[in-house]
Symmetry: C2
Amino acid sequence: MSTTHEDTEEQNLAYNVFARACVSRGTLEHVTGRWGGLTLGALHEGSMRFNELRRRVDGVSEKMLSQTLHALERDGLVHREAQPTNPPRVDYELTPLGREVAERLMTLIQFVEGRMDDVLAARERYDARRGAR
Amino acid sequence: MSTTHEDTEEQNLAYNVFARACVSRGTLEHVTGRWGGLTLGALHEGSMRFNELRRRVDGVSEKMLSQTLHALERDGLVHREAQPTNPPRVDYELTPLGREVAERLMTLIQFVEGRMDDVLAARERYDARRGAR
DNA sequence: CCGTATCCTTGCAGATACTG
DNA sequence: CAGTATCTGCAAGGATACGG
């Protein structure tokens, strides 16, 4: 290993996580996307059925919920348990991995949520400056 | 404060953070969005100029970078330092609040990044099942 | 060098209707 | 109940050109 450009590569790592070619990019988008986060949040409270989830997630359509659930299931964050009864009953729940991801996501969300007064204040300052100019 | 429906409200809090009407929703989208996370990541390494940032953030257009930077600045996560020299020089850096947000975002990203082998394995299992049916 | 303004394309998401 | 299929709009995003 060469040592001359080592720190350059380390620096690259931090933002390349988001680079287009990065493998984790897709999963991250499922998690942080419009409905992914919401779904993980709801499921973080416990196992839930499709329509139950649909009612809890404000504004999601059947299509989007279905799509989101499939993506999260494919990534191994959500487990789908279908009982072949009639009428059908399907339960969704977080996998252990999904729970860990959801927890870290919640940490971020709750931090931002807790600092919204700062954000709102910053916005007012920004808008005031903009308006003045 | 009433105590009868307290836990219901606590539960609501967890997913309502993502609800449409929620104030923090906008900021969260700036942070977790396509270019917001990337920009925060790059800036987490230190102060940077516009074109420097543009070169580092893989695939971003001038328009999107500009837009992203404005959104983050307005939310008080990024500070813009313009020197009225010629040619102009503008530096962007994280505010203390921005640094805290970036750190929590990084925690999430790096966790997912570190578990991508699990995710990839889950995907193969999922696709194999799908293909079989 | 640091952006904004404009046009134009594409892909995501909503609505609706239908199936097992 | 638990979804899939299709159509359509609209807005995010890319390319390009120009301004301070």
